[in-house]
Structures are given as C-alpha cells and as structure tokens.
C-alpha cells in the first residue's frame, strides 16, 4: 500500500534540496524560461554579439526561443520602442536617454561598444582633427550621433565646419565611401563596418585609404578622459523588465560571454551574423577588431555615458530633452 504521507526521509531530502537551490546564484534560479526573447539591433558591430550569442545557444537557458531583427535606421527603432513592438534592442545611447527623459519606460542595461567612428582618408598628412582644416570631407548621418560628435570635435579644435572645411553631406555611409574612392572628397566620416568596406575597396583599387583619425582617441583627448564613446547599448523597455526582470542578469552574462567569444574569433561570429544583418561575412569579420565591442554594465559606464551626452547635447541639452538622465536610467 502506498502511503499518502511523505516519509521523514523524503521531507529531509526535500529540505536539503530546497536549501541548496536557494543558495544558487540568481541567474541559475530562473525558474521559467522567457517564451521568446526578441532582440533588435542595428546592422553594425554590436549586433554581431547578439547574433553570435543566439547562434552559440548562450540564451538557451534563459529563453525558449530567441530572435534577432536588424532595424535599418534610428527612426525605425524609435517607432518600434514607442509603439512597444520592440522591447529589447541595441540602441544609440543618446536616443535611449532622450526617450527616458521624455517619460518612456526605457532603461539602459549595458554598453556594447566603446565607439566605432573614424575619419578615413588617403591623404598622408591627415592624422588629427586640426589636419582637416581646408580639406573636403564627406559626412553621412546628418543630424545623428556621428555628425554631432564630429561637430563637437571640430568646435573643440576651433574649426568651423562651414568656413574651415569643405563639407559634403552624404545620404549614406556607402555614398561617402563612393565620394572618397572617386577622389571627390579627401576624407570621410564613417562608422564600422562602412569604414572597413572603404579600406577594403581602396586597397583593391591600389589606393592608400586608412583610418586616419580614430574619433574615440580624439574624443578622449578632448575630454581628458578615457578614449571611449559609449555610442550604443542594450535598451530595455519597462514592460519587459516587469515581466522578466529576474532574467536580466543571465541575459547580460550571456552577452558578456558572447562578446569575449566574438573578439576571440571574429570569423565565426561574422558567419553567425551575416544572414541576420544582411552584411557580408568578410566585411563583418574585418570590422569586428575596429568596433571596440564591449559588454559594460550600464552603471559602470555611467560616467562615460554622461560625459558623451553632456558634450554632444550642447549647453541646453536639447538633444536629450534638457538634462542628463538620472540614475534610474542605468539598470
């Protein structure tokens, strides 16, 4: 006959097991998997990390299913975030801060790149921002973070973009690359992976196109701080945090692991990301070493983020709704 009451031995075993379970770190205690971890990101370096994490199964213990969708421009991201269609996405830090300051329930979980902006040029004399005086420069991303940062750097070196440089605004990074390769401009502002594309195409044509100015380094010299431009990080919307906030340490830990693996083996990571991002694997592989990929918790990166936001937003900080985001912005 089977007893309906547990034996003393069963109760003791359950108690020991329960105590051991409670002693486990929080990420390992996550009881229920997230049904679908829908991630979004730009077609650039930081998204390679997420694509690799998915392909390597690093989110396997956290979510039953995972997906990564590349958004094509910041407007698409903003629309997705504000409509609630996007709950987790790599986002420009400035855009996330702006939304936060406007009352959207968005938080920054980490920083995924320390900056991927360069001035490419074939002119031997161009090695620093002041060397751009009198030069023709192609500038894509008009009004977006790269142009704002570039303008701040020019102002710091007392260069007027209208008077001291011959600026040609390009519709896209590809157009900027074409202008440079065709010899119609002497330098171009680019972001990875467009920078790598320009260098590769130049080399194929026998041209000496190089990363003449590392804007991260120039930024560090300007601010007197680390050469870091925390341009993008993982932004999370409030509803996701409410539902699955306890899974976030595990998600961030998986991204941390993925970042190390991507930097150690860019070729494999590029193969993992090529289809999702719609970009050629050799180009992604070439761009990874220059994309300054990191996985810094937002709290740790806060000083760098605030330094960047303060400098790029101007005295009135109108680009981020008039103030720096408070501590609750940083997860």
């Amino acid at each position: 006959m089977v007893s309906l009451y547990p034996s003393r031995r069963t109760v003791l075993a359950a108690a020991i097991g329960g105590t051991a379970l409670l002693a486990l770190p929080a990420p390992l205690r996550a009881q229920v998997k997230i049904p679908t971890l829908a991630l979004y990101g730009p077609p650039a370096g930081p998204s390679v990390t997420l694509a690799h994490a998915i392909a390597a199964g690093l989110f396997g213990g956290i979510a039953a299913a995972t997906s990564l969708t590349a958004w094509r421009n910041p407007d698409e991201l903003r629309a997705g975030l504000t409509s609630g269609a996007i709950q987790l996405s790599i986002a420009p830090v400035q855009a996330a801060a702006n939304l936060y300051n406007r009352g959207f329930p968005i938080r920054l979980a980490n920083v995924m790149t320390n900056g991927l902006l360069y001035i490419v040029s074939g002119i031997p004399g161009v090695a620093a921002i002041p060397d751009l005086r009198g030069r023709s420069v192609a500038v894509p991303f008009r009004g977006d973070t790269p142009e704002i940062l570039f303008t701040r750097l020019l102002a710091h070196h007392r260069l007027d973009p209208q008077a001291d440089l011959d600026i040609t605004y390009a519709g896209s990074p590809i157009e900027a690359m074409q202008l440079l390769l065709a010899g119609r401009v002497e330098a171009a502002l680019t972001a990875e992976p467009s920078t790598s594309a320009t260098v590769i195409a130049g080399a194929q044509a026998g041209k000496e196109i190089r990363r003449a100015i590392d804007l991260q380094t120039a930024w560090g010299e300007m601010t007197g701080a680390a050469p870091v431009l925390p341009q993008a990080g993982l932004a999370i919307m409030g509803p996701f945090l409410d539902a699955h906030g306890d899974a976030m340490p595990a998600v961030l830990s998986a991204i941390d692991t993925a970042t190390s693996q991507v930097l150690a083996d860019p070729a494999t990571a590029a193969v993992h990301a090529t289809e999702t991002l719609g970009m050629p694997a050799p180009l992604l592989a070439a761009s990874i070493p220059h994309s300054n990929l990191v996985a810094r918790p937002a709290n740790e990166a806060r000083a760098d983020v605030e330094r960047m936001l303060a400098a790029m937003s101007g005295p009135e900080m109108e680009a981020i709704n008039g103030k720096l985001p408070d501590k609750d912005f940083y997860l």
Partner: protein, 165 residues
Amino acid sequence: MTKSLGTALAIHTLAVLGLFVAAVALATWNGALWPLDLGFSILVTLVGFGVLVLDWGPVWLGLVIASASLKTTYGRLLLWPLATAAMIGLHAVAGPDRGFMKLDRLGADGTLYLYAIPIALALVLGSLLREAFQVIRRGSMTTTAPPPGVMPRADTRPWHVHTRR
C-alpha cells in the same frame, strides 16, 4: 576561314570570364576576404575596376583602341606586358598624386595584380570590337539590293543574304 560574330562573341566572353574569375580569386586572396562570400568578393573586384577606370579613364580607352587596331591575337599578347609595364610607369609618375599607393608600398606582385588583369580585359574588349566591326563590314559588303521590280525566287535563299564565295 572567317568566324561568325556569334563564335567571336563566345570566345571573347570565355576570355573575359576567365580573367574575371582570376581577378575575383586574387581580390579574395590579396584582400583576405574571409570567410568566403563570393558576392562580396565580386563586388570588391568590380569596385576596384571601377575606381581604376575612373582614375585612368583615357588610358583605358587608348588601350581598347590600340587592341582593336591590331590584326592578330599574337600582337595583343605582345602588347599585354608592354602596356602593363607602361601603366606601372604611369602609376609611378602620377599615381601617388591621384591617391594611389606608391610602388614600394604596393610591391611588385601587388602592382602586377593591380594592372595585369584590367589591361588584359581592355585588350580582349578591343579585340571583340575589331571582330564585331569586321563582321558588320563583311555583312555590308555582301548585301546587295535586288533590281527594281525583281522579286526573289521562292526556292532560293532570301535575296539580302548573298554570301561571297
């Protein structure tokens, strides 16, 4: 024996394809375009050709004309190394001013790789133009109009495709 335009076109297309495959392979190898993505390798190769054509435009036109004016394939084969050497000389003199790498930076193999295949392609194009021109000229010389009021006989070939014996 004369070749038809179709045969000439097929031979020249094969030559162009062979050269292009070699160019893509070299671009992939020299550019370390790994992991292999054939579409990207082809794109990079075409961009490289495009930049060379844009920068040395009249030179390429001259090469095509020179090739078209030569009567034999042997002549074009002789022209190939000569033109490549001339192009390298031009590069040495005017290339760096146009944003090209200096020869010592390119290296001997890099310089050869940069110009040998594009020049061969220009010579093949010139040869194809010559063939096409000859076929067209042959066609116009053998075309005769029927006398006014005379209709072609039903059991003969059409009157406008007489072939010279």
